[in-house]
Amino acid sequence: MNHFEFKFRPSQSLIRRLWALSGIGALAWIAGLVAAPDRAWASLLMVSFWLLSMGLAGGFFVAVLYACGAGWAAAFRRVPEAMVAAVPAGAVGLLIVFLFHPELYPWMAGHGESSGFHAFWLNRPFFLARAILYFVIWLAFSGMLIRNSRRQDEDGDMAHTRRNIRISAVYMFVFGLTYWLASVDWIMSIEPEWTSTIFGMYHFSGMFVSGVAVTILLLIWLKRSAPLRDFVNEEHLHDLGKLLFAFSTFWMYIFFSQYMLIWYANMTEESVYYILRQSGALGVLFIINIVLNWGIPFLVLLPIGAKRTPAVLGAMAVVVLAGRWLDLYIMILPPVTHGKMALPWIELCMMIGTMALFVLAFLRWFVRAPQTPVRDPLLAQSLSYHS
């Protein structure tokens, strides 16, 4: 079997360093539990949701590539496939929060009265059952996609591609529904009185753009450090750069739609959300959030050359990721800290730890299969791709 030649092993020292970084995150969390338990728990929710979202972004990206018959990306499809490894890790973190710190959700802790559908939807057993259901659906669908993709390495059968196209089409819709509900369940219900119908879409845009950013960073790294040197070229990066540009702008569009409509109507029950997040020091973060998620990437990636330069593109991917972190921070922390800003050492350390954990999970899955889908029918097209 010639595909064993494609096997890639990360160095042990790298793995050790990544574990060390993850340890810092874990220690920060434990220290946080003592120093500022509310923040530590909220931060765990935040990092777990981020980790899960990155995994889901990988799976969704694979589904989109299959469903659109996008040949250009076949060569590096193993990267988003392996990103799915973050889903179980994130799910564990979320379950820890749901099981051991229900106080994060006022409705779970029994604050405030609710009735009717609100009470039916937001009750603990149903909430946990739904969470499990989402995890199962996501893992089942992305698992099927990955399995078929890997099996094709063995037999080169076109039927796997066809099957994956069908699975992807269904998954895209199932994913849209479940990710929206999950974001409502886990993030929006921290403030159970506040609602926004665009919330699911908002999270979707953030998830996808940061997923693309992570893919770009992994590609640049894997291209430099050998395994994808011959499979990834400037054209692939260029197209990913376009995606980063487009979805960063899409995020801005969704952000603006939500903010402008709430600002315009100025109804108290909606505007409290932004009033909390624009007061004091948080107001500065609010602006930085827009700058990171859209302002800088938009201006820098506008010229065509920037999207083809790995250094620039990688830098923008980092900026977008930082933006996503800040976005989640602004969404999750203020209701817990009541808008008071403290030095976010717990959040920052846990962020670094989660990043390391993400890379570890990614590598674990990435080494299990050849780093490129060797017998994919679209591989040739992907390798000779130029826009």
């Binding site: 603006f256 600002w263 315009y264």
Partner: protein
Amino acid sequence: MSQFQLLGVFEDESALISAVKAARQQRLRIVEVYTPYAVHGLERVLGLRRSRLSLVCLIAGATGAIVKLWFEFWTMAIDWPVNVGGKPWNSLPAFVPVTFEVMVLFAGLSSVAALLIVAGLWPGKQPKLIHPRVTNDRLALLLEENDAAFDVGRVRRLLEDHGAVEVTERLTGEEVPA
């Protein structure tokens, strides 16, 4: 001073591309290539620069956006401030949509205007067709003598070798019979 020119007419883009490549290799002066559609990859073979019209688009768009945003603020908050529904004088979120539209309008119209100007196109301009079927199914390569070594016979053969179905000799600026 009128120069001697040779026009090679092709039926197929691949023939044209190979002829262009050969002509460039032999350092012949290519006056222009005429095609019924935008042949992709030909710009690389011809060594044409990327058009800088995108710069026009960018500058016009940015100008439009800035001017409009300023104008909106000026009319709403400075020239004639009117209290509408208690909205702040500086209602930036509400000024964004029109700013965006005007940016697109400026950028789009300026780019097209710039194209028409630099390409010398205007309504009612009489076309100077190099070959009557060049907007239908023929691709044409126009070469011009660039030095004394320009050998008409050799160039004619080169064009024919690369699949030219028709080669005509002409002088600079010569009208084509309709």
